[in-house]
């Protein structure tokens, strides 16, 4: 193995240095055959890719997080997958038809697909996967994918055994029928299919404890080999992969602290690592390093508690939006890896309307708006109305340096126009207890004006923007959903409900564009910026192309030049 011999050489060199053969203090590890950009990719070879956190488990249906999908994307396939334009295209499904009434989807599956253990993949595996999600014993966060299907609710409530809306027509054909026309349905099928023959005798309640999580069998381009807890997961190529054998022989996924992984990259122990924006200069001088940037389909924003006496008035929210110099924030903190955002929908997503009302930096206008809203400066130079100072607390979850720096800058911008904002740093689970408050008995309750004033968070769309319904629809205020800003607007309510049943893509897009426009007008969220995710890759790796689907979704196309 090439990597092995390199390490052996490194070891020899290190030993030589330790034993005093060399007194040179600048002993940079030298590669025997430094990769050149002209070298052609070879068949085979292995690759080490780093991630910040270790997967919890490798069953895609147990509370999947991005650290899980980082690995499971390579092991499992889904029926459909979003392409670069976020259109759903087939993966295990070769093609599909939608019935006239828009409720029945018939999938024609790929033939000659085999599980990694050699068993043929059939429509029964698909039926098994999605039926399991409907079972009452299943409680790991995937029921929403199947809930629109006829009969799923009955099964979920324990009133029926079979999801009647899922029909296996033959080994390679399966149909799903939804109760209503449901436009986001397809995107819910973007999740790994698991093998029936290995899991059929296990109650979904026991899935979380089953050995399959630590020793998964999928249909994907790479096959699980071993998992050394706390260190790495090793995968080998599935030479019989139905989309063509991967070029690499082996992929090792390593986990660890970002800075440690970056050091490991510099030392050529790993080939790909995520890199914090502030650390980019430190790797740019390396001749073997290449920066790859992934768009994230996510935006960062300030959310207001609409029940707060100051924020009930949209003029105040607009004034605060005018007071923030987003451009300076982006240039000073994110540089070329960020963009100013004006829309709650990410700008690379089809739901983004390029023509929403914008609030460019204009402190004079901000103050004018506050005065219009009935505020006047008091003796301390702070705006007040009815004897109440415009003072509030911004909750800032820790963990993302860029977000914390942004919050500090915003405080200064607000102070400049006479608004007093306190910052409160807290960890994410703590913030959640404020946004989704509970009664003393542990049940969820309504948000009140006192639970919080404002917060700063990021929001990412997975593929389908239907999730905004739960954030802005007035009937989804906690305890019924995630509208913790308590936003309520009949027009937005109607648009959001209408898009659900709109299967015509262009029309649906139009509806979302209207939502974006109205939300920008009301500015219940102040969109701040979008941030890209930079990765650093060794130049010997060819075909690494991370995007919103994560860094590993196209691993079957990767190759190395040595």
């Amino acid at each position: 193995m090439k990597k092995g011999s390199f390490l052996a050489l490194l070891l020899a060199a290190a030993l030589a240095v330790v034993t005093g053969c060399s007194s040179s203090s600048s002993t940079q590890p030298q590669t025997p055959s430094s990769p050149t950009e002209t070298a052609a990719p070879t068949e085979g070879g292995s690759l080490t890719i780093a991630s910040e956190s270790e997967p919890g488990n490798l069953n895609p249906h147990i509370w999947a997080t991005s650290s899980d999908t980082f690995v499971t994307h390579m092991i499992f396939d889904s029926l459909v997958i979003p392409d670069k334009e976020l259109k759903m295209v087939g993966s295990l499904a070769e093609k599909w038809d939608v019935s006239e009434d828009g409720k029945t989807y018939t999938f024609h599956l790929q033939k000659n697909v085999k599980w990694h253990d050699g068993t043929p993949f059939t429509a029964k595996d698909v039926a098994f996967t999605f039926s399991s999600l409907a079972k009452p014993e299943y409680d790991a966060g995937g029921y929403w994918r199947v809930s629109p299907v006829v009969g799923a609710e009955e099964v979920h409530e324990g009133k029926a055994q079979e999801v009647t809306g899922i029909k296996v027509i033959d080994d390679h054909t399966i149909s799903f029928t939804t109760t209503e026309k449901f436009a986001p349905f397809l995107s819910g099928l973007f999740i790994g299919i698991v093998p029936e023959h290995l899991l059929k005798d296990v109650s979904p309640k026991e899935w979380a404890k089953h050995d399959f999580n630590r020793n998964p069998v999928g249909t994907g381009p790479f096959q699980f080999v071993k998992w050394e807890s706390g260190q790495y997961i090793e995968l080998k190529a599935n030479k019989e992969y139905f989309k063509g054998a991967p070029k690499l022989d082996k992929i090792v996924a390593r986990f660890g602290d970002t800075n440690t992984m970056l050091a490991a990259f510099i030392n050529r122990e790993v080939d790909v690592a995520p890199v914090p924006i502030a650390e980019i200069p430190s790797i740019q001088s390396l001749d073997y390093a290449e920066l790859k940037v992934a768009n994230q389909l996510s935006m960062y924003y300030i959310g207001f508690n609409a029940l707060n006496e100051h924020f009930q008035d949209k003029k105040v929210r607009q004034a605060l939006a005018y007071a923030i110099d987003k451009q300076s924030i982006v240039s000073s903190i994110l540089g070329e890896y960020g963009k100013v955002s004006f829309d709650v929908f990410p700008m690379n997503h089809w739901s983004h309307n390029p023509d929403v009302p914008q609030y460019p930096y204009d402190p004079a206008k901000a103050e004018a708006l506050l005065q219009e809203a009935g505020y006047a400066k008091n003796g301390k130079g702070i705006y007040e109305k009815g004897g109440k100072e415009l003072t509030f607390t911004l909750e800032v979850p820790t963990g993302k340096t860029e977000r914390e720096k942004t919050a500090a800058l915003i405080k200064q911008y607000f102070e400049k126009i006479g608004v007093n904002m306190e910052l409160r740093a807290l960890d994410f689970p703590t913030l959640v207890t404020k946004l989704l408050p509970k009664n003393a008995d542990g049940t969820q309750r309504k948000v009140t004006a006192d639970d919080y004033h404002a917060y700063i968070l990021g929001f990412g769309v997975e593929a389908d923007p239907d999730e905004y319904r739960s954030y802005f629809g007035s009937k989804y205020m906690p305890p019924n959903g995630y509208n913790f800003v308590s936003y309520s607007d009949p027009e937005v309510d109607q648009l959001l409900e209408q898009q659900v049943a709109e299967v015509d893509m262009e029309k649906r897009k139009g509806l979302f564009w209207e939502v974006g426009k109205k939300l920008a007008e009301d500015e219940i969220w102040i969109p701040l910026y979008e941030q890209e995710a930079p990765y650093v890759a060794n130049k010997r790796l060819v075909g690494f192309d991370p995007d919103f689907r994560g860094p590993t979704f196209n691993a079957q196309d990767w190759a190395v030049t040595q």
């Binding site: 390490l7 940079q28 270790e54 807890s229 660890g256 490991a264 030392n267």
Partner: protein
């Protein structure tokens, strides 16, 4: 002696229960539970609520505690909340790495600390003593994350002598001496970081203890008998001076295990420390509690061993 040990072990039981009770309550004071770290607008809030109820998060803390205690007494450390892994297995996978690291650091502490302390005492108030004093003060006060990153930068990135992180070279099936060298190369930096503060403490302790012994009558007698300086120092003085140092043995165990949290994180060492950090961030109560239980038992055992060896080293001490 046997009855003493049995009594001490019995005393440890209420102490451990007290520790777990306290940590369980402190842990629950931190707002948010594991399910709340996962907001997903696609999952109805009522579903999340149901899961939290099933896991018993809505029950009073004291009820949750006794539930946990009941399982522990049956030998069940529980399962991780989000991924359902058995906690026992999780800890057993990580324990060897942590033991390897802490034992290495432990050995280093005494192998380096004691000779330096002796050297320092023999050169009292001379330049080498001052230098070592300054070094030990720096060693005690330097934050381990800073020292760790510094070592990585210098020895891994600039000099390329050691790997930056991990416990072994991935993808190579080494055996025998090659495997040992591979482990050794990976452990040197983290063990050095972990050992540094203990080295400093052991050194200072040895120095002052030795100086105290030097001023005692029997040392003067030994000199007067015409014994060589070497015999006086190593046979008479040092043996007596090391008795208090033994206490440091016991006390350094919890210190090393605690320090391992940060050191393991920096060096990506696959031990219990890095497990603990991710468990705390993810509010994985069963893992946090299990680690806690484990560490408290270890600390109590460490203290007990220190006391026993104290009696063994100093015949004047008798436990009854």
């Amino acid at each position: 002696m046997a009855s003493y040990i049995i009594r001490r072990l019995l005393q440890a039981v209420p102490i451990i229960i007290g520790i777990t009770l306290l940590t369980f309550f402190i842990m629950q004071l931190a707002p948010g539970n594991p399910m709340q770290t996962m907001i997903n607008p696609k999952i109805p809030l009522s579903e999340m609520q149901k899961v939290q109820e099933e896991l018993g998060f809505n029950k009073p803390v004291i009820y949750q505690y006794f539930n946990w205690l009941k399982e522990i007494l049956q030998g069940n450390l529980g399962y991780t909340i989000k991924t359902g892994q058995p906690v026992t297995q999780l800890i057993m996978e990580r324990l060897p790495a942590t033991l390897l690291l802490t034992c290495t650091a432990f050995l280093l502490s005494f192998v380096i600390g004691i000779p330096l302390g002796v050297y320092s005492a023999l050169h009292r108030n001379k330049t080498p003593d001052y230098v070592l004093t300054v070094v030990s003060l720096v060693g005690i006060s330097i934050p381990s994350f800073f020292f760790g990153l510094g070592l990585i930068f210098l020895f891994a990135l600039k000099l390329g002598w050691f790997p930056t992180s991990g416990m072994k070279t991935i993808g190579k099936d080494l055996t025998g001496i090659a495997l040992f060298i591979d482990y050794a190369r990976h452990i040197i930096l983290p063990a050095a970081v972990l050992a540094l503060p203990t080295v400093a403490v052991v050194m200072r302790f040895t120095r002052s203890s030795l100086l105290e012994v030097f001023s005692l009558d029997f040392i003067r007698t030994a000199h007067a008998k015409g014994l060589s300086k070497r015999v006086v120092i190593f046979k008479h003085a040092l043996r007596n001076a090391l008795i208090p140092v033994i206490t440091i043995f016991g006390l350094s165990i919890p210190f090393l295990f605690g320090g391992a949290y940060i050191t393991e994180h920096i060096f990506n060492w696959p031990g219990m420390g890095s497990l603990g950090i991710s468990a705390i961030v993810g509010r994985e109560y069963p893992v946090i509690m299990a680690l806690n239980l484990f560490t408290s038992i270890l600390v109590l055992l460490g203290n007990l061993i220190a006391d026993i060896s104290y009696a063994w080293a100093d015949p004047r001490i008798r436990y009854s």
